[in-house]
C-alpha cells in the first residue's frame, strides 16, 4: 500500500546549513496495516505524514502511496491524489467554522471531479456515530465530536489510507478512547492507517510501531502488547 525508498527531506536551517529531517527513510506498509509512528518532538513525524499524504513535495527519493508514485508529481496531480486516495486527521481537527458538520464532511466534494453528494457525507457521519448531529456547527460540538467530524471528512472520498497526526492529542482520556476505538474499527474494515502519536494507548492499538530517530525509521525497542490499553 505504501512504499518509500531513500526518502529524504531536508530544510535549510540558517547557521547549521541543510538539516535532513528525513534521511533515507525506507518504509513498507501493507494494505490493512495499522502503523503507529513515535519519536521525540521535532524528529520529523509530521514531515513524514505530509510527504506520504502529498502535502509536501520537497523530498527526494521514491514514494508510492495507494498505487500513485508521488515523486515528481505536479500540484494539480497531488491535489487529486489528496482528494481521492488519502485522508488526513489532525491534532486540532481543523474544521471550518461557519460550515455545519455535514458541510465540513462534504468539503472534499468541492474539489472533486466526481459528483459526490450529501448522502455520502451523511453516511460518513453515521460511520463515526454522529448521524444525529449533521446540522451542528463546529462551535456546537465537543472536542471528541469535532475530531469525529474531522475523521468523517477524511473518510468522505473513501480513501485507502488514513494519515493521522496526533489525532488524540487534544482529547481527554475518555474521548481519546472512543476515537481510538473508531480507528480500530475502521482498520478492521480494511482501511490502512498510519498514526503519529505520543499516546501509549493509540500505540497499543496499532499492529506495528516504528520509531523515527535521527531521520530514520526503526522498529520500536519497547513494543506494547497488542490491544494493551487495559494493561497499564
Amino acid at each position: 500500500m505504501i512504499t518509500t525508498e531513500a526518502l529524504t527531506r531536508g530544510y535549510d536551517d540558517g547557521a547549521r546549513g541543510r538539516v535532513r529531517v528525513l534521511d533515507g527513510v525506507s518504509l513498507q506498509v501493507a494494505a490493512g496495516e495499522f502503523l503507529a509512528v513515535v519519536g521525540r518532538s521535532g524528529s520529523g513525524k509530521s514531515t513524514l505524514l505530509h510527504v506520504l499524504g502529498g502535502l509536501d513535495s520537497g523530498f527526494t527519493g521514491e514514494v508510492t502511496v495507494a498505487g500513485t508514485r508521488l515523486s515528481g508529481l505536479g500540484d494539480r496531480a497531488l491535489a487529486k491524489f489528496r482528494n481521492e486516495s488519502v485522508g488526513f486527521v489532525f491534532q486540532s481537527f481543523h474544521l471550518i467554522q461557519g460550515l455545519s458538520a455535514l458541510e465540513n464532511v462534504a468539503l472534499p466534494a468541492a474539489f472533486a471531479a466526481n459528483d459526490a453528494d450529501e448522502a455520502r457525507a451523511k453516511e460518513a457521519l453515521a460511520r463515526v456515530g454522529l448521524g444525529e448531529k449533521t446540522e451542528r456547527l463546529p462551535s456546537q460540538l465537543s472536542g471528541g465530536e469535532r475530531q469525529r467530524v474531522a475523521i468523517a471528512r477524511s473518510l468522505f472520498n473513501k480513501p485507502r489510507v488514513l494519515l493521522c497526526d496526533e489525532p488524540t492529542g487534544n482529547l481527554d482520556l475518555q474521548t481519546a478512547d472512543e476515537v481510538i476505538g473508531l480507528f480500530k474499527s475502521l482498520n478492521q474494515d480494511g482501511l490502512t492507517i498510519i498514526a503519529v502519536t505520543h499516546e501509549d494507548r493509540l500505540r497499543a492499538a496499532a499492529s506495528r510501531v516504528l520509531m523515527l530517530n535521527d531521520g530514520r525509521l526503526a522498529p520500536h525497542p519497547d513494543p506494547l502488547p497488542r490491544g494493551g490499553e487495559g494493561d497499564r
Binding site: H50, A79, N83, H94, A112, F156
Partner: protein, 427 residues
Amino acid sequence: MRPNSLIKLVRLQLRRDRRGAFSSTFGIAMGIASLVFFVALGLGVGRVVREKIFPVDSRLVDVVPSQLAIGLFGGGKLTQDAVDRLAAIPGVERAYRKMSVRVPAVSLYDGDFFGRRLRMGIEVIAVGVDPDFVRADVKLGDFSDPGPGKPIPTIVSSRLLEIYNKTFAPARGLPQLSAQMLVGFSFPVDFNRSYVAVVAPGPVTSTQLQVAGLSERGVLAAATVPLDVAIRMNQAANVDAETFTGVSLQAASPSEVPTIVAAVKEMGLRVDDQDRRMSENAGAAVAITTSAMALLSALICLLAAFNIAHALSAAVRARERELGVMRAVGASQRDIFGLVLAEAVVLGVGGGVAGTLTALLAALGVDMLSARVLPQFPFKPDTFFLVPPWLPLLGVGLGVLAAVGGAWLPARRAAQVDPARVLAGQG
C-alpha cells in the same frame, strides 16, 4: 473546483467578514459612481454642444469666395462655373448654392403676434439657397419661387428659434413659440429699404415672407429663401445676380471631407469652418474636462483596489489554516487562487452595480434640479447626461477589474500558503 461549492465557500467568507466586504464594496462603488457620473456628464454635454449649440453636419463643407482675387479660375469668385467645378471634386455628392439678397430689407411688423400686440421694425437679411438644401424640413408648399407679389416661402433657423424662446421672448414679454406655431406665419418685408444703411436708388419691393419650416440648415440670423427668389431680387435691383455668396458641398462620407477641403483651397476658394472649429474646440474642452474627471475617478478606483488588497491580505493571513485544510482535502493552488479571486469578483460586481446605480440616480437628481432651479437659457437641455448601453457595463467591468486587481497578490499569497506548515501542531 465545482461552481456550486465555489459559491458556497465565497458566500461563507463574505458572510463571516461583513464589515470588510462592505468597506471593500463601498470603496469600489465610490470610484465607479464618480467615473460613470462624469463620463455620462461629459458625453451628455458633448452631445448638447454637437447637436444643439453647434450642430455641425460632419458631411458639409461650406465654401466661400476668397477675399483676395488670386485664384486661377474666376479670381476666387463663386460663379456657376466655379460651382460646377466644385461639384465635380471627387467625393462631393451635392453642391448647394447660396446667394444673399444683395439689397437691404426691413420688416415693419404692426399687429397681432400670437396673441400679443406687437409693433416692431427690424432689419432683415435674406439668403437664397438651393431648395434641396432644406427640402427635408419644408412643411408648407414646395419651397420654390412663387413669382413676384406672392408671399415668399422662408425657412427659419431652429437655433434662432431657440435663442428667441430662451432670451429674446422672456426679456420682451413675447410669447414662447413652437415650430408648429411658426409654420404658415407671415410677416411683411420691404426690399431695398433700410433703417441704417444707404440704399441704392430704385423701387422698394413690398412683399410677405411666409415661414415654410424650421431647419438646422437655415442661416442663423437670416431668412432663408429659395435661391431663385434671391436671383430675381438681385436682378430687379440691378446688383450682382451672377456670383454666389457661398456653396455647401455635401461629401459622400465624413472621411472625404479633408480631401475635399484641400481641393477647394487648391481652387483658390476659402472654406468657412468657423462653426466646425468652434464645435471642435468646445468638444475638445468637454473631452478634456471629462478625461480629467474620469482620471480622478480612476484614481479612486485604484485606491479602492489598494483597500481590497489590504483587506484581503489580512483575511488571507487569518485564514491560513482553513486554506491549508482545503489543500489537504484536495484543493490545488489554482483552486485557492480562484477562491480568493472569486470573492473579489463578487465584491467588484457589487461595488460596480452599486456605483453605477448611484451615478445614474445622481444624474437623474441633477437633471431634476436643473429643470426646477436653473433659469432657462438657450440650448438648455432636458438632460445633461448621456448613458450609452456600454457605460453601465463599463462601470461594472471596471469595478470587477479594480477588485480583481487588488485581490491578485493576496490570492497568490493564499495559493502559496504551505499546508504542511499551518496544519501540524495544536492551536
